[in-house]
Amino acid sequence: MKKCDKCNIEIETKQLYCPLCHQVLTGETDPSFIEVYPEYVSLTRKILPTVKKTLLLLSILAIVIVALINTLAFNGVYWSLIPIGSTLYFWLLLRVGVLSRRNMAFRIAFLTVLLIALLVLIDYRTVPENNGWSFDYLMPLLLFSCNLAIFFIILVRRLNYRDYFFYLLIVIVFSLIPLILVAFDVLTILWPSLVAFGLALFILLFLIVFFPKTIKEELQKRFHA
């Protein structure tokens, strides 16, 4: 035991000073004594941040340069939005799709929506007389794949399938959008939207028949007030 003569307290430690008044302690502590609490270990920075920062710098530089060229030599088209959009997509793909440890269904749903946005952007920034394919084909078909992917995750990962349920319900609701757009004559080609909606409807019925309790519970917990 060591002692602080000023505070009149006893302490077992290999440190030399009193934690209360910072005066030197007297007495000895057994050399085999292990400190009650651990020492400070500075959280070692991994190499990753340096790589990440370099990539980030390059991305920002590229965006600025492309935007500058586009504005200085403006030819009537904002073509720079395509490389800028792709760069942002790359970052979000890395951040949300690869590095994030979030729910897989969330990542799939998020990246699908983002990819649709990017493709729509590319579509409307390229050959003007030929656009509309992103809305007509890609949006419904991507929603179709997304639905299918999350549905399979739920079937395969039985143990924690409930974690993916809510995202699947959201994507199912999203799958209605192309069909609504067809109804309002925004989209001209019917079959991809119909396929996407058909799958969504099938999955929804499947869930209602086989997991009625989970659906009810999922809605209850997400909407309780």
Binding site: I11, P19, Y37, E217, K221
Partner: protein
């Protein structure tokens, strides 16, 4: 493997738990620790088995936090729980990524076993029961002849529905929910410890000696400590500087009250309220004896059943407010955060928790050296205090987010000056560079 259909799969956050996820930061983590020192070195493999085993008895801790459209909720967590080696951090933010989304962690080091828990999951009362069960399971797996003696909830038992209940709601009284506006409290100033680290100084005293001391002036132990803390804050921070504007705010000691002792409830979730002692301390000649009288009076006023129900109902009424209730989650989050940062967190100078006496079955006592509790120290409540006793050891742990230790020094010197012996433990946060 746990049968996911056997127990309730999700829980609403209880009334007091709702605010914590929205306002917690790296500094104000709203995490607290209870810790046991065994008489022997901990074996991590066995502790891991004990943890997995006992989680079956406590399904309400096997959860993760999720967002709903209006409120957060606790949802069953199907991931594996893993114990961790104790690092230098004390009550660090519950990093849910590193912790498989669990809202508590079990730490070990040498002969220590600690549970750190996020406040949304429960309060000190619930976590002590959980820790006792964990230690029991651990000792049993080690092959020691321990018996539960109706004190410990063992893994063979089954959870009661009452353990999940939000008891605040049960005792809520619409007619007694008057809102009493409050003023900002005095803030203890100091140099913030870098990197959000927490300083921790514990003093071990004799329970009997301190009990006698407080009884000699007609107070309970908690009342004695509150008065002493006010006096120490006054002496180290305010005395002779009462003319300064910042020193004119009242010193307020926030003392949590375990409502399980006042209203019957088996809940493991948050069921505590508080009593506050407060005084504007600008006079130059306040004595400890005056504070004894003041604290006794304020405790008695604040602890009547009626007043406790009023405070409980005030909180519940806030949550039941129609606009807040149906405000979409992300807007609610911002609103709560702003309200909390502007006023909510500034209502107390210090929180002083007395968890009370921890009792173990006699068969477990030979393996347990001491028990302690640590509350988090934040950006406004820079110094906080947690007290508990086990056998004749009274352990007072003062945690701080500032480097200065004047309060600790004066607090413990009060006892040594009276001739009581004090043994100190510290995590020497001064060395954290």
């Amino acid at each position: 493997m746990i049968d996911t259909t056997k127990y309730k799969s999700w829980f609403r956050l209880d009334n007091s738990a709702k605010i914590f996820p929205e306002v917690s930061t790296e500094r104000d983590t709203n995490t607290f620790r209870v810790q046991i020192a065994l008489t022997e070195v901990v074996e991590p493999e066995i502790l891991q088995l004990a943890a997995i085993g006992i989680l079956e008895r406590y399904p309400m801790f096997r959860v993760r936090l999720k967002h709903g459209v209006f409120w957060n909720f606790l949802d069953r967590n199907t991931k594996d729980f893993k114990i961790q080696e104790m690092g230098h951090e004390v009550n660090a933010r519950m990093d849910t990524k590193d912790n498989n989304n669990f809202l508590f962690r079990i730490l070990y080091r040498n002969n220590l076993i600690a549970i750190e828990m996020f406040h949304s999951l429960g309060d000190g009362g619930g976590v002590i029961m959980f820790l006792q069960s964990l230690i029991y399971e651990y000792l049993k797996l080690k092959g020691y002849p321990v018996t539960p003696d109706n004190i410990i909830k063992t893994k063979e038992g089954r959870p009661l529905e009452e353990e999940y209940e939000d008891a605040n709601e049960k005792y809520y009284n619409k007619k007694n929910r008057k809102h009493v506006p409050e003023k900002k409290a005095y803030r203890i100033k100091g140099t913030m410890i870098p990197n959000n680290n927490t300083g921790m100084v514990s003093g071990i005293l004799s329970t009997k000696a301190v009990l006698e001391l407080s009884r000699s002036v007609g107070l309970t132990m908690t009342q004695y400590f509150s008065a002493l803390m006010m006096y120490v804050i006054y002496n180290t921070q305010i005395r002779y500087r009462g003319h300064l504007k910042t020193n004119q705010a009242p010193v307020k000691i926030f003392v949590p009250v375990n409502l399980r002792k006042h209203f019957p409830s088996e809940t493991l979730r948050n069921f505590s309220n508080f009593v506050k002692t407060e005084l504007v301390m600008t006079d130059d000649d306040i004595t400890l004896e005056e504070l004894f009288v003041l604290v006794k009076e304020q405790f008695e006023k604040g602890m009547t059943k009626e007043e406790l129900i009023r405070k409980m109902s005030e909180n519940v009424a806030f949550e039941k407010n129609f606009f807040l209730k149906f405000m979409p989650y992300y807007i609610k989050k911002v609103a709560l955060k702003i309200g909390y940062n502007m006023l909510g967190m500034k209502l107390n100078t210090m929180s002083l928790t007395n968890i009370g006496k921890i009792v173990f079955p006699e068969s477990m006592e030979p393996y347990i050296k001491d028990v302690s509790a640590v509350v988090c120290a934040g950006s406004y409540n820079t110094v906080n205090c947690a007290i508990l006793s086990y056998k004749d050891q009274l352990k007072i742990t003062i945690s701080r987010s500032i480097l200065e230790t004047n309060i600790e020094k004066e607090f413990f010197r009060h006892f040594t000056d009276l001739g009581l012996s004090v043994t100190i433990e510290s995590n020497y946060v001064e060395e954290f560079v």
